[in-house]
């Protein structure tokens, strides 16, 4: 089946930029406010009002475009995309048409499990636009009235359009993860899909090998996918559906129109949308209310310098400079910059990077998950973890008890020493050890006899008894001391 066709996927991602105010007015962009409380005459398009560009939004968009390796033209302009809809109060959306703020970039993706070769996914363009409002259709009331909430109207959106370079739903999901990670590192968006901060549409078709040629099937645009998981499921469903349709109809890209289908999450299917609504002529033209935006080479250089280390470069640093495995590096990077910083602080204190990676990716993450905390809220500072790892390495803490100590530290917010006290972990005095072993031998003549008869394993049960009386003794210490005592008794 997998050889029967190639799935060809391009993604269109709308990212809501994390600005305080809207793209062309000063209204708040906060999510979840009472309907129509975050509006003003400008964003609801009242007569005579004029838009004024929010420079902060433009800077966030520019940052993202640069991080996506896009070309940034020196001159970009705004266009009106015109259509009638009740949640679009001006009758047009301010967007960018033929001179977008960025073009021709790429994002690198790879699968740590190696299911596909690492690849560069080309970005056709990324442009800024204002969001429309929200229509709430009352399906129950007999009159079928719709309600409009214009709080979202004018919120800055960055539309990122990829080339159809993706070849599977897995590649699509990894691309989205990688993009989300990048946006998170840049701090340009909260990427919350539930609140609509990140919206994904997909264009998908199949290339079916037929008589030595690769025949493309009609392109379908899928909308209404509300999670990355939904994207993956919808793409899998759609590929299978298109292949079945191909077998039935043999329709190709040339002889059937592009179709828009909506993903129905509960039913797990895509459904065709009315084709009448797609054939709009948006009558784009330059918005005469807004002046073109220029970006000088100096401004661009300054912006590049301010970007900081991006996830891909950070991952490379962890593997190349600190010797982490690809897997460990990816786990760390995917958790976000603060966790990576935590890790880096631990190793800066001289901790072996492999040991530190194990502790951070396993114990620390487990504790964070159990406690539903972020690394910033976490009780164990990097130097405390470094000390713990050092004490285990030196034998001050038995390696079997390291996790126990760590749990006490993170639970009660204690230092290593406090946790050790709490667990009464201390070095065993040699004379204490001798007297403990003497007592044990005296009270266990049978075991002494067994050992003397060559059954060295019998000593194991003494170890258990020793630990009960003093948890700090190690099995090796008890074994060696007892053996020596028995053997010296035998020689006497």
């Amino acid at each position: 089946m997998s050889n029967a066709y190639t799935t060809v996927i391009g993604l269109e991602v709308h990212v809501q930029l994390a600005t305080q105010s809207k793209l062309f007015c000063r209204c708040s962009t906060r999510f979840g406010a009472e309907p129509n409380t975050q509006t003003c005459p400008v964003c609801i398009g009242m007569p005579g009002t004029l838009p004024v560009m929010n420079r902060e939004a433009f800077c966030l968009a520019l940052k993202t475009a640069v991080a996506l390796n896009c070309k940034i033209p020196e001159f970009t302009k705004w266009d009106r995309k015109q259509y009638y809809y009740p949640d679009l109060p001006k009758g047009y959306q301010i967007s960018q048409f033929d001179l977008p703020m960025s073009e021709n970039g790429y994002l690198e993706i790879s699968d740590p499990k190696g299911s596909f070769e690492p690849k560069r996914v080309s970005i056709i363009r990324a442009h800024l636009e204002e969001d429309a409002g929200k229509s709430v259709h009352d399906e129950i009331a007999a009159k079928g009235d719709s309600l409009i909430d214009l709080n979202r109207t004018g919120t800055p959106l960055l539309e990122i359009v990829s080339e159809p370079d993706l070849r599977s739903s897995l590649e699509a999901r990894i691309f989205l993860n990688e993009l989300k990670l990048l946006l998170t590192y840049l701090g340009v968006s909260d990427c919350n899909m539930q609140e609509g901060s990140l919206r994904v549409d997909a264009n998908v078709n199949l290339h079916v090998p037929t008589q030595g040629e690769s025949v493309p099937t009609p392109i379908v645009e899928i909308k209404n996918m509300n999670s990355f998981r939904a994207v993956e499921r919808a793409l899998d469903y759609e590929a299978a559906r298109q292949y079945q349709q191909w077998q039935e109809t043999h329709q190709t890209l040339g002889n059937a129109p592009k179709q828009t289908r909506g993903w129905d999450e509960p039913a797990g299917v895509t459904r065709g949308q009315r084709s009448k609504e797609e054939s709009s002529d948006y009558r784009y033209f330059p918005d005469p209310d807004l002046v073109p935006v220029t970006v000088t080479p100096d401004e661009l250089e300054e912006l590049r310098d301010s970007l900081g280390e991006l996830p891909a470069a950070l991952g490379r640093r962890l593997t190349e400079q600190h010797g982490l495995s690809q897997y460990d590096a990816q786990v760390l990077v995917n958790q976000g910059r603060p966790l990576v910083n935590y890790f880096l602080e631990v190793i800066e204190l001289g901790t072996d990077s492999k040991a530190a990676a194990n502790w951070v990716t396993q114990e620390v993450l487990r504790q964070l998950k159990d406690r539903e905390e972020t690394i910033e809220q976490f009780n164990v500072p990097p130097d405390a973890l470094a000390e713990l790892i050092a004490k285990i390495k030196s034998g001050d803490i038995p390696s079997t008890r390291g996790r126990e100590v760590f749990e006490v530290m993170s639970g009660a917010g204690q230092t290593v020493a406090q946790a050790m006290d709490a667990l009464a972990i201390a070095e065993v005095d040699l004379s204490d050890l001798s007297s403990l072993c003497e007592k044990l031998l005296a009270t266990n003549p049978k075991i002494v006899a067994d050992v003397q008869n060559g059954k060295l394993k019998a000593i194991g049960s003494l170890i258990g008894q020793a630990k009960k009386q003093n948890p700090n003794v190690t099995p090796d210490q008890v074994r060696e001391t007892c053996l020596q005592m028995i053997l010296s008794q035998g020689q006497q």
Binding site: I44, G48, L50, V52, Q82, Y84, P86, P89, R283, V291
Partner: protein
């Protein structure tokens, strides 16, 4: 002599010396309006009470020795296209008949900040589309010089009220000549500033890249005073220019030295009324007599200006007016009637077994849009929306809109070249004096050609002024247009003031009213 026959500058002086009060001046104008506006129809609404209150308040401040603004106590009429918080702003349209904006235009704020007394709102062509004010949804405005004739448009009410001495000053807007042409028809002064000189915030848009707010006055000196107040950078309008505003009223009396006045021979070709030609040539002679050099120049692309304008302006208008859809504010069709009609159509088609036609029927939303816009807009507005929608449609955009933008650039270059050789360009404002009301309503193309001499300045973004320079044998005013390079309003006003001081045309009064 009545106070209303003084210029605003003279009134300002009498107010400042305490010889007259603002209340007295305001009452005089209110009386004048009550007596004459029934025949002229310049005003859509009079704010008598608020004007009196404001006049008293300013008088009190002045008497108390407190500082007052540059327009303190002067009554001013405003075209009904500039938003004022809590006041109706109709744009001469049914669509906005009841519309009260919750914000004020920057120009309104500036007028109030300088203590102007806003006395009323003037009639206009609907959404400023037209050249006769006949496209107003509410009333006809008559030319005070001949009540059978048009005052011009679209700022017909603003020009007519100053001509009829019903306001010393008024505010108009000019997208293709809408201040200058009615000023010429009504024998008053009208100035269109450089694009970006006056904020457009709160000006209900017709064509955003062409619209400018400007003063209408009895004299150039008065126009300088009003322009000085309304001009200036506004952070709420990205297209507004950051350049500082000179004190126009202080310099307007200073004649230009070594003036080089440009004249375009094509402007005097066939089609120009002989009396208009004679008056404009006489004005040019007046300049020559004052020592100006008269120089022939060419504006080779000017002949495409009207065509270019009637692609760009309707294109922008079609987009700017899309918001009037009945959803959020303004006029909405009678919904129950609309729904009943739709239901009846559906039943009818179903009864005839035309299921496909039922499927094709409008949704309630689409029918609401259609009805609202069909009922809310007048024919000229619809015509321009259709023109613009067509020009921006896929497959036509390059041939119309894009081509028009290119020609617009050429027109601008023509002016840049011309202004290397001359300081100002003189021309007629219109090819003929005010036409009769109703004369052109069935000939939109002829109406569009009235804009021949004025649209180029809007396309090039340069300032232009219209001032009286003569009368026809029938006693109708004739206007002279002067154009200057961008941001050279100071030069424009001083040049205009030169000919104004040398002639008596600005002192002529409407014979039919007095």
């Amino acid at each position: 002599m009545s106070l209303v026959h003084l210029t605003a500058t003279e009134q300002k002086r009498l107010l400042s010396t305490g010889e007259i009060s603002s209340l007295q001046l305001t009452e005089t104008y209110l009386d004048r309006i009550a007596t004459h506006d029934g025949r002229v129809g310049a005003f859509l609404r009079i704010s008598a009470d608020s004007a009196r209150r404001r006049a008293q308040e300013i008088d009190a401040r002045r008497r108390a020795g407190q500082p007052v603004g540059k327009l303190a106590g002067l009554p001013i009429a405003v075209k009904d296209v500039l938003c004022q918080r809590g006041e109706r702003t109709t744009c001469g349209s049914r669509m906005l008949e009841e519309f009260c904006p919750p914000y004020s235009a920057t120009v309104i704020e500036k007028l109030l900040a300088e203590d102007a007394v806003l006395i009323g709102r003037t009639n206009m062509d609907e959404f400023a589309m037209g050249g006769s004010t006949e496209n107003s949804a509410f009333q006809q405005t008559h030319n005070p010089w001949d009540l059978q004739r048009t005052p011009g448009g679209s700022s017909g009410g603003s020009a007519a009220c100053v001509a009829a001495s019903m306001a010393p000053l008024s505010i108009g807007t000019d997208t293709g000549g809408s201040i200058r042409q009615p000023a010429a028809f009504c024998g008053v002064v009208g100035l269109k500033p450089t694009y970006g000189r006056v904020s457009r915030f709160g000006l209900v848009a017709f064509a955003s890249s062409l619209d400018q707010v400007g003063p209408v006055a009895q004299t150039v000196e008065d126009a300088a005073l009003l322009l000085e107040v309304i001009a200036g950078h506004d952070p709420r309008d990205e297209t507004s220019l950051p350049e500082p505003v000179p004190a126009f009223s202080a310099s307007v009396g200073k004649p230009l030295e070594n003036l080089r006045l440009g004249v375009v021979p094509d402007h005097f070709a066939a089609g120009l009324d002989s009396e208009v030609e004679a008056a404009v040539r006489a004005a040019i002679e007046t300049y020559a007599g004052m020592g100006a050099t008269i120089k022939e120049i060419a504006l080779p692309h000017a002949k495409y200006a009207v065509a270019t304008y009637y692609v760009i302006a309707p294109s922008e208008a079609s987009s700017n007016l899309a918001r009037y859809d009945g959803v959020h504010y303004g006029y909405r069709t009678d919904e129950p009637a609309m729904l009943a009609e739709l239901q009846a159509e559906r039943k009818q088609l179903a009864a005839e077994g035309k299921q496909a036609a039922v499927e094709e029927l409008d949704s309630a939303l689409v029918r609401m849009y259609r009805r609202t816009r069909a009922e809310g807009f007048g024919p000229e507005v619809k015509r321009r929306i259709m023109l613009g929608t067509y020009a921006l449609s896929a497959g036509y955009y390059d041939a119309y809109y894009l081509k028009a933008l290119k020609v617009r650039r050429l027109i601008r270059q023509d002016f840049n070249r011309a202004f290397e050789e001359v300081d100002l360009i003189a021309s007629p404002v219109t090819a003929a004096p005010a036409f009769r009301l109703g004369e052109m309503v069935n000939d939109p193309l002829a109406m569009y050609l009235v804009d021949l001499y004025t649209v180029s300045a809007n396309l090039a973004g340069i300032p232009g002024i219209s001032l009286p320079c003569g009368q026809t044998s029938a006693g109708l005013p004739i206007g002279l247009q002067l154009l200057a390079p961008a941001l050279e309003e100071d030069r424009l006003l001083r040049g205009a003031r030169m000919v104004e001081q040398a002639t008596e045309w600005h002192t002529q009064r409407t014979p039919n009213l007095d």
